[in-house]
């Protein structure tokens, strides 16, 4: 068992290339249990919750049909089977944000980052590799979940004639937009993890920016709150994941809002890249 080191010639071939860094990052992502746990939360949330809630809704409507037809008519007029399908994104975004953070902060917490940067001393390759692999996996998975949820929910709500086709206005935009938004959320997590290098700090920052700040802004005087609110990350980003057309004052248009969210993400990732390239590991 304890033998000589292999002679010095066999494997002296490789140089680091972006493609090789991607493969390495794929191995890293796919070899951790936390990846599967977080992705399972996101998949169940986006792929399953919509159908579950739609089924509950329909059984409630079946009861209302006999007891209170007026209320049923009112509910039907407000119901969007598209929004119902992708509604699970609200839970999925937490799982993906946390996974994004862990993808980087886990390396700092364990010391793995030293091994990563010794193997790839052109450090930004590591960050771009992580982002690319993480975003590709997240987008593919979330698009599949959103489509599954969409068609599943339409089949469930067809009994009450409120089903929609993928070709209907906003349907495709919401389905694809949900997957895009969740991917960008994960990328924000990656950026925060790389910027703060600490799991607890990065997850706290993520939760604060996404979910706490809107509540704090709501405490401001109404006029001020209303003018800030549309630009908050959660409000801006999630505009693409719903059919609801808010007036310009309340919410940004879907793609504008998503663009604003991407700008926040790019800012955080940019700062993280600057810190990675400039400071000691």
């Amino acid at each position: 068992m304890i033998t000589m080191a292999a002679g010095r010639s066999s494997s002296r071939v490789g140089v680091v290339t972006p493609g090789r860094v991607l493969r390495s990052e794929w191995t890293k992502l796919s070899s951790l249990r936390s990846t599967y746990c977080s992705l399972l939360v996101a998949v169940v949330a986006l792929g399953g919750l919509g159908m579950l809630f739609a089924a509950i809704q329909m059984s409630d409507w079946s009861r209302l049909e006999l007891e209170n037809p007026q209320l049923l008519a009112a509910e039907r007029s407000h119901f969007s089977s598209i929004d119902a399908a992708v509604g699970g994104y609200r839970l999925a975004q937490l799982g993906l944000g946390v996974l994004g953070v862990l993808v980087v902060s886990g390396e700092y917490a364990t010391g793995m980052i030293r091994s990563s940067l010794m193997a790839v001393p052109r450090r930004l390759s590591v960050l771009w590799g992580k982002l690319t692999v993480f975003c590709a996996v997240t987008f593919a998975l979330m698009l599949w979940c959103a489509l599954t949820a969409f068609f599943g929910v339409q089949a469930i709500v067809a009994s009450h004639d409120v089903d929609r086709a993928l070709g209907d206005p906003d349907a495709l935009r919401v389905v694809v937009g949900t997957a895009l938004y969740l991917t960008a959320i994960g990328a924000l997590g990656v950026g925060l993890g790389a910027l703060l290098r600490n799991t607890a700090a990065a997850i706290s920052a993520f939760v604060a920016v996404m979910f706490v700040v809107p509540g704090v802004v709501a405490l401001l005087p109404a006029g001020l709150s209303a003018s800030i609110s549309p630009y908050l990350p959660l409000n801006a980003g999630s505009a693409i994941a719903t059919t609801a057309q808010f007036g310009g004052a309340d919410r940004l248009a879907p793609w504008t809002g998503f663009g604003v969210f991407c700008a926040y993400t790019a800012l955080v990732v940019g700062l993280a890249a600057w810190r990675l390239a400039r400071s000691d590991a």
């Binding site: 292999a6 490789g14 680091v16 390495s24 191995t27 070899s31 951790l32 790839v120 001393p121 000691d280």
Partner: protein
């Protein structure tokens, strides 16, 4: 070859490495020796580009580490035992590192076998002992078959069999023409492994020397302890024979004799019919010689009164 040219590293106000220059040559095992806090680990981090020097220049195989196209083929480093994600298996960890350089799975299996971790290759690293983590770190260092191997306290946490194995491995690596650079705060460890020595204290170079030289410097002070009921007779005989013999009476029947070997003492005693009950060469230990070299530079020095035993001095000083 590793070259440091006037390298300085500050962390805030703290000067971790202070104008350090040295060269580590291929083909020999070079020991990097100094008390804890002397800047050894910092220097190693600087060499592999994890931290940037505040001033000065570091070259590995003539270039800056960050400019190496395939660094794992040039330099393999074990910095800390836990440079590994604890949630990953040993195999996945090595595979992820290998893939950055297009190194194949066969080589991953080979290094796992080499360090004796083949049986636990698919177990999570979080369940590993410190010794197993060290073995995994050594496997990672050897993954790219590098010309330079850097190991920070490689025997930490290893069992005696593992320590012997590491010593042998390092010798083989050097014999194959590689540059082997390892740190330790134990002179005794270095005496068994290293040829060349770079001794640092408080971030500064104290000595660039060889183990042989340190041993030689340590030896002149050596004495031979003799226990004999005829102490006075032996003293007289030696005084007659020797030029620079000095004798110190420890007890009535115990002498410490310097300037003459135990063999000569034994022969002298035999030829005069003097009975000896004990004849023991007292070596000034390597640790003592090393302490003499470093003691002025030791940063966190325990008070002399707090040192109960010579063999503990290093541990306390560290």
């Amino acid at each position: 070859m590793i070259e440091l040219l006037h390298v300085t590293k500050r962390y805030g106000d703290k000067l971790a490495v202070d104008d350090l220059s040295f060269t580590v040559q291929p083909g020999v095992v070079t020991g990097f020796l100094g008390p804890n806090g002397a800047g050894k680990s910092t220097t190693m981090r600087l060499i592999v580009g994890l931290d940037a020097p505040s001033a000065g220049e570091i070259r590995v195989e003539g270039r800056a580490y960050r400019e190496l196209a395939g660094p794992l083929h040039e330099v393999g480093a074990l910095l800390e035992a836990r440079g590994v994600h604890v949630g990953r298996s040993a195999h996945a960890h090595l595979l992820a590192m290998a893939q950055t350089h297009g190194i194949d799975r066969a080589r991953v299996a080979e290094v796992l076998d080499l360090v004796g971790l083949a049986d636990v290759a698919h177990t999570r690293v979080g369940t590993f002992s410190l010794g197993m983590c060290q073995r995994l770190g050594i496997a990672a260092a050897l993954l790219g078959d590098p010309g330079i191997v850097i190991l920070d306290e490689p025997t930490n946490g290893l069992d005696p069999e593992g320590i012997v194995w590491v010593r042998g491995l390092l010798r083989e690596l050097a014999a194959e023409g590689r540059t082997v650079f390892l740190s330790s705060h134990l002179m005794s460890e270095m005496a068994l492994t290293a040829d060349h020595l770079i001794i640092v204290g408080r971030g500064r170079l104290i000595a660039e020397t060889t183990v042989e030289d340190v041993v030689r410097q340590a030896s002149p002070g050596a004495a031979v302890r003799v226990r004999t009921p005829q102490a006075e007779a032996l003293h007289a005989e030696l005084a007659r024979a020797g030029e620079q013999v000095s004798v110190r009476a420890v007890k009535r029947d115990v002498l410490d004799i310097m300037g003459v070997s135990s063999r000569q003492i034994g022969e002298t005693a035999a030829s005069r019919g003097i009975v000896l009950h004990e004849l023991t060469p007292l070596r000034a230990s390597l640790e003592d010689a090393y302490m003499d070299l470093t003691c002025k530079a030791v940063e966190y020095r325990a008070a002399a009164s707090a040192m109960p035993d010579e063999t503990d001095r290093l541990g306390l000083a560290a």
